[in-house]
Amino acid sequence: MQKLEISEISAGYGGKEVIHKIDLKIAEPAIYIVLGPNGAGKTTLFRTIGGILKPFSGRITLDNTDLFNSKEARKRIAYLSHLSALPEEMTVFNALKYYADMEGGDVEHSLELLSVSDLKDRKLSSLSQGQKKRVSIGKIFLSERELYILDEPTSNVDPKISKEIRDIIIKLSKDKFVLYSSHNLYEAREIGTYLILIKNGELKFFDKMENVKIKQYRVGIKALNDISNLLPESEFDNGYYVVTVDNPTAVAKIINDLVHSGAGLTEVRELDNPLQEFFEGE
């Protein structure tokens, strides 16, 4: 795939518009994090790109082929909803085979990739939410696609599995396009190359993650000695000297000064996630 082009897309349910004239051009294999508060329109956007919802207006093309009207183009896309979308009365193996029979693909490969081979004879209804999530993710890896639309792929899974899934997706993004929604801001920052911010159904921000500019940085510092007199303006909270500055360069300078003054630093941590402010009121 060379290019996904979303042109002036409006879509919704029952005639009620949820996303309004969204314009996006994606031309670099990477992870595109889609963020926004609940009800912002992320899932509607994903469903529209995934060919599930017919747009009210606008057009989505994959290498200049209209996505909604081309079954061939749709075969190049993998869509993962936040639900398991699995026939729960089946065993893990049969559930994946159910999709493999319709779409093609290698069940054993998916089982191994998601480390669920040991569950293959278990009924889906007997699995935990986390195990089901892994199997559900397994179905989108049955065959190779070019665009992966992943709606909260790491929700309901424990941190270990969550990391394994992220690692697979990071590896995937080297030559594939991944649209990824998450409520975990730390995860978003960790894996995202681009950030797409949706609010009230409108595109508010689309740029590289590194270009995300924020209003303030709150940094917590722990030290062996009292460093309050070495800091510009600080408060002491929960064992941390908390400093608030307006740019990352200021953070670097403070840390540098503390190190050179022999403050005996034991820990420096970011107290707020910079992406947090995107979830706050407009």
Binding site: Y13, G14, R47, G50, G51, I52, L53, K54, K71, R74, K75, I77, Y79, S81, L83, S84, A85, L86, P87, E88, E89, M90, Y98, Y99, D101, M102, E103, K139
Partner: protein
């Protein structure tokens, strides 16, 4: 394996109770159809009554044999609601299925199950009928009527149930029984027509079945236009 074949297979595994009920109903239908053979003739033609049990009982059995097909295919209707709620239908839409493809898959699955049971019912009924000495013409009529009424009932029931489940706002699929009740529409006349309008029973039963079949197919073909894609989402 195609989508409809997989759906049929899944339905069989989903609930065996309905299949047992379907088989029992077809046995009951067969018994009703041949009951007159074991009842003394003087009891069948009661003086002063216009009801001809000898000829009407086999016709009335058509409704029971058809009902058995409706029961047999009921798990397919349940599976549709189940798949809608778990997001399976949403996933299928993402792979390039249209609404019509989805509805047609469930309709094919339910019709195939109905055909399997109707074949079983008719083989059973015809074999026992021949053994009991039932008129061959009457047995052939029952075969035609049972397939016409049974299939039209299953088609209408499946299409209506999917439409009701798609349009309801709550997730649970509580409107599903409405579709099943509608599926009874062509079945009930088969039960009463033979007794109320004995001379026109055949025409009435066949006409209702054909009209039902055409309406169901029409609704199915128009499903893509009448039911928006979003109605298949959880």
């Amino acid at each position: 394996m195609s989508f409809w074949q997989a759906t049929m297979k899944r339905s069989v595994k989903l609930s065996r109770t309905y299949f047992i009920m379907g088989v029992l109903m077809s046995v009951f239908g067969t018994a009703t159809s041949n009951m007159y053979s074991i009842i003394p003739a003087d009891l069948l033609n009661i003086e002063g009554t216009s009801i001809d049990l000898m000829n009407n009982m086999p016709l009335a059995s058509v409704s029971f044999l058809s009902l058995s097909a409706l029961m047999f295919s009921m798990p397919v209707m349940m599976l549709f609601v189940f798949d809608k709620n778990t997001g399976v239908l949403e996933y299928l839409l993402s792979t390039g299925f249209s609404q019509f493809d989805v509805y047609a898959g469930y309709v094919k699955a339910s019709s195939s199950l109905a055909i399997i049971l109707l074949t079983f019912s008719n083989v059973l009924n015809t074999a026992i009928g021949i053994y009991m000495g039932t008129d061959l013409g009457l047995l052939a009529t029952i075969v035609v009527l049972t397939f016409a009424v049974g299939l039209s009932g299953v088609l209408l029931g499946t299409v209506s149930m999917m439409a009701f489940s798609s349009f309801q706002k709550t997730q649970l699929g509580a409107n599903q029984p409405l579709g099943i009740a509608i599926g009874m529409v062509p079945v009930l006349p088969a039960l009463f027509a033979a007794f109320i309008f004995p001379s026109y029973a055949l025409v009435i039963i066949i006409s209702i079945a054909v009209v039902t079949l055409l309406i169901s197919l029409g609704l199915l073909l128009l499903s893509g236009r009448l039911i928006p894609r979003e109605k298949l989402l959880p």
